[in-house]
């Protein structure tokens, strides 16, 4: 019986705790909503950040492991290493598995094929897609089984049924038939044919695919390849493509977002912890009397803490669940944007399944942790202390400051407002931290926006007309009336033209690399071409046999400035030197000039013209004249094209800024609401002695305005620093100094005002509610 009584007692106590918690939640509706909103915004931010961070690596690793991808795809010179010698390398120490040797040939495709431009294609002779290494996934059709059959590598993992059994004409007049599409996470070839067919294509290389027992870093791979090639003639190895480069290429798009997402994710967590701590500590402080009453009627300290933690947990859990749902819904489209255009192979880009579980567990824990400190104050407080809180003698620096302010010439409403935050320094510090982080976020986003705009901004104050050839515009049926040379001459001669540049585009083979690359050749007055990217290291490729490329291309091909590459087009080889690094760019493209193009091919491969119009020229008239001269051309007024990743970066930054600014403003809102609740009696008294509603609003806004200004004074420099760190660490874009140094006085003033703006935004509603406070009710409710 004793035991039963005990259980009943516990149940009763739990019921009382639950009833007290429920009443507290009901009574503090605004506070409950604020906690819920803060947690909601923070959870969404954190989940999105984690989604991008995890998607940048895991899908590649999974797909690569599934195909037993090659740690190194090696190409050997058949003249220097025999098939037997290469086969023997499979048994060298450190080699876990190997496949090959396979004959490797580079063929020229003279026309468009399966939606790709003409150019070089590396074909490898393999009798089947399986094997110990690089188990190629057949996406459709079948594996090449006879002469003339080819399986095309589809790096993006999809294919069009209609291209099956499509002919693939080669530059030497021969023809292959596409019998299948496949994808290799190792990117070991552009296509596969039978070994016999490969031999018939006059192979220039032999391919070996290796998996090593230790492939954890570039250095290990280099050392392993050293062991593999030991004893082989010097220069037998013509190229070794590391899987780490592919892995990096896979995450290249996401890499642009990673620093950003990490910063915003961390900011989200810090702001959430700060605001939740602030909100809960405010709830405890403003609830001292409530705590005293609970303790005086027999609640144990632990039960009081439970009441307060439960009070916070209810909105925190609701915010977490809704934030997780919102983040999960947004994660899919955001990942699609982040990984658009990259070589995914069979890797599936989707938010990791563990993400919701991670946020559902970790965010409420964080909230509870933030709540625990103020709740433990409630634990320690004696009932007498709690009930008398507020009427205890107070003194200290805060009060001295208020007194000094009272003696200034400032309007009393202003000086009273300015002094208020000193009465609760800890709460003020938390609120200012929230505003500071909000300002930091706004600063980073503004800086990023300006940096990215400057990067793509070629504005010279003139109208540019872009003229696309029918072929490049996707119209393969309209035949051009003019040759490229005639087109350029016509564009120059058409009234209104001031300068004309020409862009030639062709796919070329890179000797030693299995994948071809896109070459942009600029001619004419190329300095004005709006398409041409800024060179941030080295110099622009203006001389013959010089190229420039973006950081992704350089990294993925293991190059550095001054390195040489051999281009292969229609069997003609040209060795070029990398002289410049562009700010960004396609990882499979480089740029050069007409002299280099002429050394490689006679065909200018012109696809696009850029015409700068003279001042006052009529763009409409110019476009009409161009269309009349050659209807196959598509002229249009050039509009600055913010690339997909750039738009995405700005969009993410804007979303996070809005979320975090809302959270920061909610922090201010909550603090003021608590302050006003605490100071209801003071406000009533002030109004009773003649303080006007406007003076009440002024006083309330003054109390936050300086907090906003001081927070901005810290947040803006911190934001500038964070912006610099971010732009210097975006892997796929190298920003020129001119794009990184975006700060000027009006912008800085604007950002400083953002701090005040966030503070005032959060303060407006509480200020107005303070102004409307019913005096009679307040003053008589003692």
């Amino acid at each position: 019986m004793k035991g039963v009584k005990g259980v009943k007692g516990v149940k009763g106590a739990n019921g009382a705790v639950w009833r007290a918690s429920r009443a507290a939640v009901k009574r503090r509706r605004v506070q409950t909503v604020v906690i819920g909103l803060v947690v909601f915004c923070s959870t969404t931010t954190v989940l999105l950040a984690l989604a991008v961070i995890s998607a940048a690596r895991a899908p590649f690793d999974d797909a690569f492991a599934q195909q037993r991808g090659a740690h190194v795809v090696a190409a050997f010179d058949p003249a220097k290493a025999s098939a037997e010698q290469l086969a023997a390398t499979a048994h060298r120490p450190g080699v876990e598995a190997a496949a090959g040797p396979f004959d490797q040939a580079v063929v020229e495709i003279p026309t468009d094929w399966v939606g790709r431009p003409p150019g070089a294609l590396t074909l490898v002779g393999r009798s089947d897609p399986a094997g110990p290494v690089d188990r190629v996934r057949l996406l459709g059709g079948r594996w090449a089984a006879g002469p003339g059959e080819v399986v095309v590598n589809e790096p993006f993992g999809g294919f069009s049924e209609r291209f099956l059994n499509h002919p693939l004409p080669l530059g030497d007049g021969r023809q292959l038939t596409i019998v299948g599409f496949a994808t290799s996470m190792s990117q070991s070839a552009g296509g596969w044919v039978t070994p016999e067919q490969a031999a018939a294509l006059h192979p220039t290389g032999r391919q070996m695919l290796y998996r090593f027992s230790d492939a954890s870093g570039e250095q290990r791979l280099t050392s392993a390849m050293g062991t593999v090639t030991e004893g082989l003639p010097k220069d037998a190895l013509t190229n070794a493509q590391s899987y780490l480069v592919l892995k990096e290429a896979f995450s290249a798009g996401a890499d642009a977002y990673l620093p950003l997402m990490t910063v915003f994710g961390v900011l989200g967590l810090v702001v959430a912890a700060l605001i939740v701590g602030n909100v809960v500590s405010g709830a405890v402080v403003s609830g001292y009397r409530h705590i005293g009453v609970l303790k005086s009627i027999g609640f144990t300290p632990r039960q009081v803490v439970t009441v307060y933690l439960t009070m916070v947990s209810v909105p925190a859990v609701a915010g977490t669940v809704l934030g997780t749902a919102a983040g999960w819904a947004a994660a899919h489209p955001i990942l699609q944007a982040a990984f658009s255009g990259i070589t995914t192979g069979i890797a599936v880009i989707e938010p990791a399944g563990w993400l919701p579980a991670a946020t559902l567990i970790s965010v409420p824990l964080l909230v509870l942790l933030a709540a625990l400190v103020p709740a433990s104050r409630a634990h320690r407080l004696s009932a007498a202390q709690a009930i008398s809180a507020g009427s205890a003698p107070r003194n200290g620096r805060g009060l001295k400051i208020q007194r000094r302010l009272g003696g200034t010439r400032l309007p009393r409403a202003v000086s009273l407002g300015l002094g208020q935050p000193f009465a609760r320094p800890a709460r003020t510090a938390l609120t200012m931290s929230a505003i500071m982080l909000g300002v930091l976020t706004v600063t980073v986003t503004t800086g990023l926006g300006s940096t990215l705009t400057r990067l793509v901004d070629h504005a010279d104050g003139r109208t540019h007309i872009k003229v696309l050839t029918a072929h490049f515009a996707g119209d393969a049926t309209t035949e051009p009336r003019l040759t490229p040379a005639q087109t350029e001459a016509m564009l120059r001669a058409t009234p209104g033209a001031e300068r004309v540049s020409v862009r030639g585009l062709v796919q070329v083979g890179l000797v030693g690399y299995p994948q071809p690359a896109f070459a942009d050749f600029y001619s004419g007055d190329d300095a004005v071409d709006t398409k041409r990217l800024q060179v941030v290291r080295g110099r622009p490729a203006t001389g013959p046999n010089e190229i420039e490329a973006g950081p992704s291309f350089i990294r993925q091909h293991g190059l550095k400035l001054g390195d040489r590459l051999t281009l292969d087009l229609d069997g003609r080889h040209l060795t070029v030197t990398l002289v410049g690094e562009e700010s960004e760019g396609n990882p499979r493209a480089f740029a050069s000039n007409d002299a280099t193009r002429a050394a490689l091919t006679d065909d200018p491969h012109a696809v696009e013209y850029d015409v700068r119009l003279a001042e006052g020229a009529d763009p409409e008239a110019y476009q009409r004249a161009v269309s009349a001269a050659d209807p196959s051309l598509s002229p249009s007024v050039f509009a600055p094209d913010m690339g997909g990743p750039i738009v995405a970066v700005i969009s993410f930054a804007t979303i996070f800024t809005v979320l975090l600014s809302v959270v920061a403003a909610l922090g201010v809102f909550n603090t003021l609401l608590l302050t006003i609740r605490e100071r209801r009696r003071d406000l009533g008294m002030l109004k009773s002695i003649g303080m006007t509603p406007r003076q009440v609003v002024t006083m309330t806004l003054a109390s936050v305005t300086w907090q906003g200004a001081v927070s901005a004074a810290i947040g803006v420099p911190a934001g500038i620093l964070a912006h610099r760190l971010l732009v210097e660490n975006v892997g796929s874009i190298v920003f020129p100094e001119s794009a990184m140094d975006v700060w000027d006085v009006p912008l800085l003033i604007g950002l400083a005002l953002a701090g005040v703006g966030i503070a005032v935004l959060g303060a407006l509603v509480p200020a107005r509610s303070a102004a409307r406070l019913p005096i009679a009710e307040v003053l008589h409710n003692e």
Binding site: P393, P411, D682, G690, A776
Partner: protein
């Protein structure tokens, strides 16, 4: 002087400071004031008594412009409070009304002197001038030596004296007191009563709401007894001090 039907005297119109005519105030279904009529002359000290819930505090709030009647008119110093907006009411209070409360309603974060000076500073008076006048008032009320002390460290009587000083800061036409001795011990209560009597003797118009018959009889010249939101009885009191 006019005479009412029940024999009580009525103030002359020319000297009227407060005039409530047919004032109703409803809170939902509850009637706090039910057609209240009241006039107070300049220099009068009027005490309002009655059981809890009879509408005493609501009457005070109407006169101070802290609350609005459901119907009827409230005129103070010849000013009809009905058309005034919140801003107008604030300016009206600043100019004409001083208020003292049962629980003093001092600002804990300001010392006594600044609590008193505050009322003048809100009107734009400089801090120096406001503090000088505040110190004079504190001196007159016998608490100047406590000018730098924060409310929490003052005794109940001292707090109420500081509150009275604050109420007098802008030289109001009407001083409203809501249970001014209700939170004080008997000695402090006596001191505050003496203070109110002194103020009335130098011409300050007083309206005191109280449960305490001693306060009413000592400080007021007229007693208004309320019941159910109306004036149930009025009588002139003999001066007892």
């Amino acid at each position: 002087m006019n005479t009412d039907h029940d024999g009580t005297s009525r103030p002359d119109d020319a000297q009227v400071v407060v005039e409530l005519t047919g004032v109703h105030k409803e809170f939902g279904d509850a009637k706090a004031l039910d057609g209240l009529d009241l006039r107070i002359r300049a220099g009068e000290a009027v005490a309002v008594m009655g059981p809890s819930g009879c509408g005493k505090s609501t009457l005070l709030n109407m006169v101070a412009g802290l609350d609005r009647p459901t119907s009827g008119t409230v005129r103070v110093q010849g000013q009809d409070l009905g058309p005034l907006n919140e801003n107008g009411l604030a300016l009206f209070r600043r100019r004409h009304i001083g208020m003292i409360f049962q629980f003093f309603n001092l600002i804990d974060d300001l010392p006594a002197l600044d609590n008193v000076a505050l009322a003048a500073q809100l009107t734009g008076t400089t801090a120096r001038q406001a503090r000088r006048r505040a110190l004079e008032l504190l001196d007159e009320l016998g608490v100047a030596h406590r000018k730098d002390v924060y409310p929490a460290a003052l005794s109940g009587g001292e707090r109420q004296r500081v509150a009275v000083a604050r109420a007098l800061m802008n030289r109001p036409a009407l001083l409203l007191a809501d249970e001014p001795t209700g939170a004080l011990d008997s000695r402090s209560g006596e001191q505050v009563m003496d203070l109110l009597i002194d103020l009335n003797q130098i011409g300050q118009t007083l309206l005191i709401v109280t449960h305490d018959p001693a306060l009413a009889t000592r400080c007021a010249g007229r007693l208004v007894e309320m019941a159910d939101g109306r004036v149930a009885r009025e009588r002139i009191l003999e001066a007892s001090s």
